[in-house]
């Protein structure tokens, strides 16, 4: 390695410092005086505690004196001396004169000195882990976390060899200097590595000495995207990490959901929407498919939204067994390590401030395919009316659409045919989407602010950050507000002991007042009954008055009971939005404490504790005027025709529901760290430890009728025992009662782990990692609860070999790992019954939840990873290339049992039977295309993942192809199957398939024929290849970057109209218009004719047929970021160290798509609106 210039500052004169000190006191210990000086001047002291041994106390009475004078006064009678350098005061013993003078007798005797020193970076930040070797000897030491080192009895003219990974090494001639501050220059970056240390949540590892697959996203890259949550900020930045967030695209991505309120705390298996190196697990609802999220040191169980993106320093993704198996049984899906910002010792306070504003456009509802124009829709209603389809609804007072109401009046002779036509024609001109656009949607406005204060003194480092987000969503009356404060402090009260305490507090306040969702199922048109809107519905008239729409009950019925004194039973959607009061409050508190004691410079032990408490409550208050309250009151209102009186089993008034939940996690860990370099050649880094953790959740709910929001009072004497006749006539029901149960779940884990890395001569690295996990989740025998998982790895830095002479490739490293990760199944192996109370008898009841399986054990993922890291000369091109194989073993699969076992309605038998094989390639390339004043850097991230099912015992049934997660041995885990398509029957537009190799319309036969002559494999349901190309251009203070993302090699089912008229009105889709209507149409359309009466199988066959399969391949311009940096202006003194202003455009648009149907595969419904952000970042 080349030697480069080093800045070494020594014995800088202290004169010229203008700091004045005032001290008076009698018989003060020296340490006290030093502390006073520190307080008054901000200068820090640097000394060995041993120097106070034998030091005398001093009495002082000094005013406005210089530091030098004070120190001179203090030390005049002591055997100590001081030096002032860069606001650091070093106190040392006076060097014994004898050693400084060569002895006359023995010319060969060398004089010795005791060295005290500190290694800093060019920026003055301490460098921990730097190696100091006395040249020509085996004597070596390592700097501590604050960059300090000491060596005793060193030859006065010795040469020190100082090296540290990531920095240029240097040789320093001692020349009698005992107190050193040496600055190292950062080595030109290799591999685009920003930080050379990677964290696995247990330890900081030098990346050069690791063998595993880590993807690190440094602070600069992390801050490139603007987002209000942590994980969105890393979308598209790491190879092998796929964000499933934007709909996978299988048919059935929720077309007409019930329009219920969005749920907040989604407990599904994939709540994060991220997969690392593909999903190797067959889906069962008790297995988390999410990567493990680790916040600094401990798994983070709370809502990821509690974290303020501003408090994050960097993110590391652990992908293979070598990197992740330290996390054992929970690492099967990969691990994401989130590292928060920390303060540094002896660093003056740094203040970072960021602020941004994001504006998103209104959702473009007109581009949704899930809509049918009013004219066609009315034609369908007309035809169904002719088939008496609505008669039953009409006679039962169930809602029918305004058009059906008109048709009914016409049929009964209540209106003339001309009137009817005129009214219907008026409906045909309407479009509910205009009202949606105007009254439901709005522009999104997100504000984000963050401030971070960090710094440190000689015995303290601190960071304090606060963040505030205020988001107005795309939907009227929905808001999201978050406040997060984070503080972490580390003290060194006595030498070798470090105490750290930290707090993260967050508060979320969300309002979900608008029941009209956005995204899948946004446009809830269609449907005869219930919540759906017809395409020609009107939400408000031209003067802005909120209008009633059909909802559950017929208008004539509503009017008739209102005359009896019932409450108004009309449903006015815009009133509902205005009256809604649905808030979610969430508080989260994380407390951290740790103690670390250094036995020697290479051995320390630490104890860590963390508790996490998250409380959330969803409070829904239904105003007395809200439809929900009025409807419930009316439904139960008892009308006595003889006295014409009304009684109210459910009191008139508001209704309040609350569902508080609590999550409490406690972690405790004890760990021993060993880190030493022996004889310069042998570098050992080793940890061993044990940890226990418990996660406990408590959930319950409350319900109050007749609730007054003003007084906070409710009616308590509700009769839940007797049932009441309900309106409209006919039924009886009990009053919905509150669920009194409190649900508590407790998960406990116990783990022992160790990680050892050995590097020989910087060339060969061997790593091994092992972990033993236990949990209370597996029953049967306690022994089965503990499972060992391990990994081993080898690394070879070929470019360091003597024989390596490839000049154009100055850096080349090969590495490989092998090992196991696990996955947890959150249910027991034995027969479990759930207790409850019978409503009918009051007896305790037990319900069987799952059948027993004594053989149940942890899932295992066998990982093999091989990688090459390289850099061309001058880093023109650098990058890494990895291939891997993941074999899912003992995967838990839910076997559907024959219903005669009695378990078909339960989860079925869960067994460790399935296995899968995933193969993949991760490529990351960094290319400096132009390097000069104008810079152009291209970063390519490319991942290819293929997988197949090796073993899966579950019998596939005729219906299983309809799910996109069909597991067929030999085929990908997520594959799309479809029925072979034989075109339309030219005589009547029927869809045709194949059965026994013949063209057939026996839909029942085709659907039940699980054989290739009816069925085709259409392809992957998830992109096989994905990645991004990021181009960054910079010129002077300007920087422009654009990220293009691509997803290739997958298919999706295109949504298409129902083939039954009754299906069309409940689920209208625009391509109904292009259906087959007359012979000859089959030449121009593949959409079959629509039928009455319903033919369910005909419809099913069509929706899962080959003709609706489209290629998902696409390339999109994800975002563009443009920034201007004021901090770089030469020669101009600014009040801040750095000020950056930037603008960022997200979701720019689709560049290319493979399908010819004009469908954006990511946006089958309403596209994610484009947004633009403006922001500043500054520090001073």
């Amino acid at each position: 390695m080349t030697l480069l210039l080093v800045a070494v500052y020594l014995h800088v004169s202290a004169s010229g410092y203008g700091q004045k000190v005032t001290i008076s006191g009698k018989d003060m210990p020296l340490e006290k005086v030093f502390n006073m000086i520190k307080k008054q001047t901000g200068y820090v002291f640097f000394y060995d505690y041993n120097i106070f041994k034998g030091a005398k106390n001093v009495s002082l009475d000094i005013r406005d004196a210089s530091i030098q004078d004070v120190l001179n006064e203090c030390l005049k009678e002591q055997s100590l001396e001081f030096k002032i350098l860069d606001k650091t005061i070093t106190i040392t013993r006076k060097i014994n004169e004898i050693f400084l003078k060569p002895s006359a007798n023995t010319a060969t005797i060398t004089s010795f000195i005791d060295l005290n020193g500190r290694i800093l970076s060019e920026k003055g930040e301490p460098i921990p882990g730097a190696v100091i070797n006395i040249k020509g000897t085996n004597r070596t030491t390592i700097t501590d976390d604050n960059g300090f080192f000491s060596l005793k009895r060193v030859g006065h003219d010795a040469e020190l060899l100082i090296s540290c990974i990531g920095f240029e090494s240097l040789i320093y001639q001692l020349n009698d200097h005992a107190d050193l501050i040496i600055k190292l220059r950062i080595k030109a970056r290799l591999l685009g590595e920003a930080t050379v240390m990677v964290s696995n949540g247990y330890q900081l590892l030098p990346k050069e000495r690791s063998t595993g697959s880590f993807s690190q996203i440094d602070n600069e890259l992390y801050n490139r995207r603007v987002a209000s949550d942590v994980l969105s900020k890393i979308d598209g930045l790491a190879a092998g990490v796929y964000f499933t967030g934007n709909g996978v695209g299988a048919y059935g991505t929720s077309l007409n959901t019930s329009g219920g309120l969005p749920t907040f705390n989604n407990q599904s298996a994939t709540k994060l929407g991220i997969t690392i190196r593909g999903q190797a697990d067959v889906y069962t609802n008790k297995i988390s498919l999410d990567p493990l999220i680790v916040l600094d040191n401990f798994p983070y169980e709370g809502d990821i939204n509690n974290l303020n993106p501003e408090m994050i320093e960097s993110i590391t993704i652990l992908k293979d067994a070598g990197a992740a198996s330290i996390w054992g049984a929970r690492a099967g899906n990969g691990v994401i390590i989130i590292t928060t910002k920390k303060g540094k010792l002896n660093q003056k306070m740094k203040v970072d401030f960021t602020s941004n504003l994001t504006i998103g456009s209104r959702p473009d509802i007109f581009s949704s395919k899930f809509f049918l124009n009013a004219k066609d829709y009315i034609d369908v209603e007309d035809s169904l009316f002719a088939h008496s389809y609505f008669d039953n609804s009409i006679s039962n007072s169930r809602a029918v659409s305004p058009v059906v109401e008109v048709l009914y009046e016409l049929a009964n002779g209540q209106i003339s045919s001309a009137d009817a036509t005129a009214q219907i024609n008026a409906f045909k001109k309407m479009d509910v989407r205009n009202d949606y656009k105007k009254h439901i949607y709005q522009k999104l406005i997100n504000q984000q602010y963050g401030i971070t204060l960090s710094g440190g003194t000689s015995d303290l480092r601190y960071v304090l950050s606060a963040g505030y987000d205020n988001n107005r969503t795309n939907i009227v009356r929905n808001r999201y507000e978050r406040f997060v404060i984070n503080s972490s402090n580390t003290y060194i009260p006595i030498k070798n002991l470090e105490l750290t305490g930290g707090v993260i507090y967050s508060q979320i306040n969300a309002q979900n007042n608008n029941p009209f969702s956005f995204g899948g199922g946004a446009l809830n048109t269609g449907g005869v009954y219930g919540n759906n809107l017809v395409p020609y519905a009107q939400l408000a008239n031209s003067s802005g008055t909120h209008l009633a729409v059909i909802h559950n009950l017929r208008t004539p019925f509503i009017d008739s009971v209102q005359q009896l004194g019932f409450l108004d039973w009309h449903f006015r959607p815009l009133d509902e939005i205005a009256l809604a009061n649905n808030t979610i409050k969430q508080n989260s508190l994380i407390l951290k404490a740790s103690a670390k004691y250094k036995f020697t410079s290479f051995l320390n032990a630490e104890l860590q504790y963390q508790s996490e408490i998250q409380n959330s409550n969803n409070r829904i208050y239904y105003d007395p005027n809200s439809y929900y309250s009025r409807d419930l009151v009316n439904t139960y209102t008892q009308y006595d025709p003889s006295s014409e009186s009304l009684t109210y089993p459910i009191p008139v008034g508001g209704i309040l529901t609350q569902s508080p939940s609590q999550l409490v996690t406690r972690n405790f860990r004890g760990q021993v760290n060993y880190n030493q370099i022996i004889a310069l050649k042998h570098a050992i880094i080793m940890i061993a430890g044990a940890e226990i953790r418990q996660t406990k959740t408590t959930d319950y709910s409350t319900l109050a009728y007749g609730y007054s929001d003003t007084y906070g009072t409710a009616i308590s004497n509700i009769d839940y025992i007797n049932s009441y006749a309900t309106n409209p006539l006919g039924g009886t029901a009990l009053i919905p009662s509150p669920n009194p149960n409190v649900i508590i779940t407790t998960k406990r884990y116990l783990s022992y782990y160790s990680n050892i890395g050995y590097t020989y001569d910087g060339r060969y690295t061997f790593t091994i990692s092992g972990r033993k996990d236990g949990a209370n989740l597996f029953g049967v025998k306690i022994n089965d609860k503990i499972t060992p998982l391990w990994s081993a790895g080898l690394g070879w830095e070929a470019s360091r070999e003597q024989f390596y002479h490839i000049n154009w490739l100055p850096y080349l490293k090969l590495r490989g790992t092998y090992g196991y990760n696990g996955n947890v199944y959150n249910a027991a192996a034995y027969l479990i019954a759930t207790f409850n109370t019978s409503r009918m008898t009051g007896f305790p009841t037990a319900t069987v939840a799952s059948p027993p399986n004594p053989q149940l054990r942890w899932e295992r993922m066998k990982n093999i990873n091989a990688g090459v890291d390289f850099a061309l000369r001058n880093n023109i091109v650098s990058g890494s290339f990895e291939v891997y194989q993941k074999r899912g073993l003992d995967l838990l699969e839910p076997s559907p049992l024959a219903p005669s076992t009695g378990f078909s309605f339960f989860t079925g038998l869960i067994g460790n039977n399935a296995s899968t094989l995933t193969k993949g390639i991760d490529i990351m390339l960094n290319s400096k295309n132009i390097d000069g004043e104008f810079k152009w850097i291209t970063t390519l991230i490319l991942s290819r993942i293929t997988n197949k099912v090796l073993k899966y015992d579950v019998e596939q049934t005729s219906a299983s192809i309809q799910s996109y997660a069909t597991a067929l041995v030999g085929k990908p885990l997520f594959s799309v199957y479809s029925y072979k398509w034989a075109g339309l029957d030219p005589t009547n537009g029927d869809p045709q398939g194949y059965l026994n190799k013949q063209v057939s319309k026996d839909y029942s036969g085709i659907i039940n024929n699980y054989k290739p002559d009816s069925l085709v494999y259409s392809g992957y349901a998830i992109p096989k290849v994905f990645g991004s190309i990021r181009n960054t251009f910079s010129y002077k203070q300007f920087s422009l970057s654009a990220n293009i993302v691509f997803k290739l090699g997958y298919v999706f089912r295109r949504p298409s109209t129902s083939l039954n008229y009754t299906g069309v009105i409940s689920n209208p889709i625009s391509d109904f218009t292009n259906r087959w209507q007359k012979p000859g149409d089959e030449k121009t359309t593949s959409i079959p004719s629509v039928a009455f009466p319903d033919d369910i199988l005909r419809n099913t066959f069509y929706h899962y047929s080959e003709v609706l399969i489209e290629k998902g391949d696409q390339v999109r311009l994800q975002d563009i970021s443009l920034s201007y940096d004021f901090g770089k202006i030469k020669g101009v003194k600014l009040p801040f160290e750095r000020l950056q202003v930037y603008t960022y455009v997200n979701n720019v648009g689709l560049i290319w798509k493979a399908n010819k149907a004009g469908i954006d595969p990511d946006n089958l419904n309403i596209p994610t609106p484009r947004s633009i952000s403006f922001g500043i970042k500054t520090n001073f």
Binding site: N392, T732, K785, I832, A833, P844, G902
Partner: protein
């Protein structure tokens, strides 16, 4: 270095020595409401789960029966199985699951879990009575479930062919890995009878609540089973045994108990209905739900009630267009069809057995006892005959009128009585001008096994 190894070794030592603490730490229940059934209380709680054990008995037979009709306008709004059952098509399930098959086998599994589990409990004297009650209940529920399935999915019991006719899978273990195979009809009925006989010996005479089985309920069910097997003397013996001990009949004239004009005429709490021996309900189809607007009562059935017969009011709701719908369920609690056991049915069983045995006076005496509580006080003239055929005819007419929507009695009677040419009838439906017919003894009286069961366990399908 040595120090660090010492610490590592110490850690490992602690690991090993803390085995006990480690086990204790991990032995905590994951969910507070979960339990692995072990104690008698656990088993009783499984059997007291009325949502499973007393609920959702099959209505397949009702939906196929001649109790009701659907008008053309309503027909399209029926669900697929409702349509198939209404028109007796070959493929009832059309790849869909059968809720009744699934639910009833869940009852079988619960019973087996209890029977397998209780085998590990030693029945010492202090717990003898609850132990016997639990064990007897499990046998009773299993028998009831098997009988319910056999009435839908097997050929009617015919002594000459029962050994070769296909029965239902008789699951006698809770082990879900055990393979399901079809038994013979003979084995099916043998198992039902032996389970019930075991239960009779174990169960208390009267239950704490009628959701729990009792010895009398088990005898009543046995009478019903023997009747369906055309073993009339056995049926007589068990019906008689129950009625000797409990002869209660609900007097429809007593307005403190019965409100004939109400939409729910009978006592809401089944324990207050003195006829009920065991409570269960059926569930399934909008075509046969009480008060289902889509379902119109068969006019012949409705017209068969005398004007003084209170059942004409109590059982049927008058639609505005002059048609009727059924409302007279004894399950006034959940408002589903009653599928349990009651004394009225036992009177009819005994009356039929007496008539078939030529004991006309006992037969008419049972009928008179029942009908005097059904007719408006003072309007009923006691029946009397010496002709056994007349007596039998009267009984069968009254069975039709008393139990139209009780369990699947009507369907079971059609299956049984069609074998006798004197009583055989052909049922017809007309939809949009197309006529569907169900001939006596047609293979369509045996429902197909659900497709999922065939696919997963590979058992033999019924041909129809």
């Amino acid at each position: 270095m040595i120090k660090s190894f010492a610490i590592i070794i110490a850690t490992i030592t602690i690991n090993i020595s803390c085995k006990k603490q480690q086990d204790d730490f991990l032995n905590v229940k994951a969910n507070n409401y979960d339990v692995t059934p072990k104690t008698l209380a656990d088993f009783q709680a499984l059997l007291d789960n009325d949502a499973i054990m007393n609920n959702s008995y099959s209505e397949l037979g009702l939906a196929s029966s001649d109790n009701y009709y659907v008008i053309d306008d309503n027909y399209p709004s029926l669900t697929s199985p409702e349509k198939q059952l209404y028109t007796w098509t070959s493929d009832i399930w059309q790849s869909q699951e059968s809720a009744e098959w699934n639910y009833i086998y869940a009852i079988v599994e619960y019973s087996n879990i209890v029977l397998d589990g209780i085998a590990n409990v030693s029945p010492d004297n202090s717990i003898k009575s609850s132990y016997n009650n639990i064990k007897g209940s499990a046998y009773f529920f299993r028998a009831l479930a098997f009988y319910n399935l056999a009435a839908a999915f097997c050929k009617p019991y015919t002594a000459t062919s029962a050994k070769t006719d296909l029965g239902i899978p008789l699951r006698l273990t809770s082990d879900v890995n055990a393979k399901s195979v079809r038994s013979s009809v003979q084995q099916t009925y043998d198992r039902i009878i032996s389970d019930l006989k075991t239960a009779i010996d174990l169960l208390p005479l009267t239950p704490l609540r009628v959701t729990r089985p009792s010895s009398r309920a088990a005898q009543a069910l046995l009478a019903k089973v023997y009747l369906s097997m055309e073993q009339y003397s056995d049926a007589l013996q068990y019906a008689d045994a129950v009625l000797k001990a409990k002869s209660d009949l609900l007097d429809y004239n007593d307005n403190s108990l019965v409100t004939p004009t109400a939409t729910r005429p009978f006592p809401r709490n089944p324990d207050n209905n003195s006829e009920i021996l065991f409570y269960a309900n059926g569930w399934g189809y909008a075509t046969v739900w009480p008060l289902a607007s889509i379902s119109h009562t068969d006019t012949t059935l409705y017209d068969s009630y005398d004007i003084n017969d209170i059942r004409k009011v109590a059982f049927f709701y008058n639609n505005s267009d002059g048609t009727h719908r059924f409302k007279g369920t004894y399950d006034a609690y959940s408002k589903n069809n009653f599928a349990g056991l009651a004394t009225d049915e036992l009177y009819l069983i005994r009356a039929e057995c007496y008539a078939r045995a030529g004991n006309t006076s006992s037969s008419t005496s049972d009928l008179n006892a029942l009908l005097s509580k059904r007719y408006t006080t003072g309007t009923f003239t006691a029946l009397s005959t010496n002709n056994a055929d007349t007596a039998l005819h009267w009984v069968l007419v009254e069975r039709r009128k008393e139990l139209p929507f009780t369990g699947t009695c009507r369907w079971e009677d059609l299956r049984r009585l069609n074998k006798d040419p004197r009583f055989a009838i052909t049922i017809k439906r007309i939809i949009a001008g197309i006529t569907y017919t169900l001939e006596p003894n047609s293979p369509k009286y045996i429902l197909p096994i659900p497709d999922k069961e065939i696919q997963l366990s590979g058992i033999q399908q019924n041909q129809r």
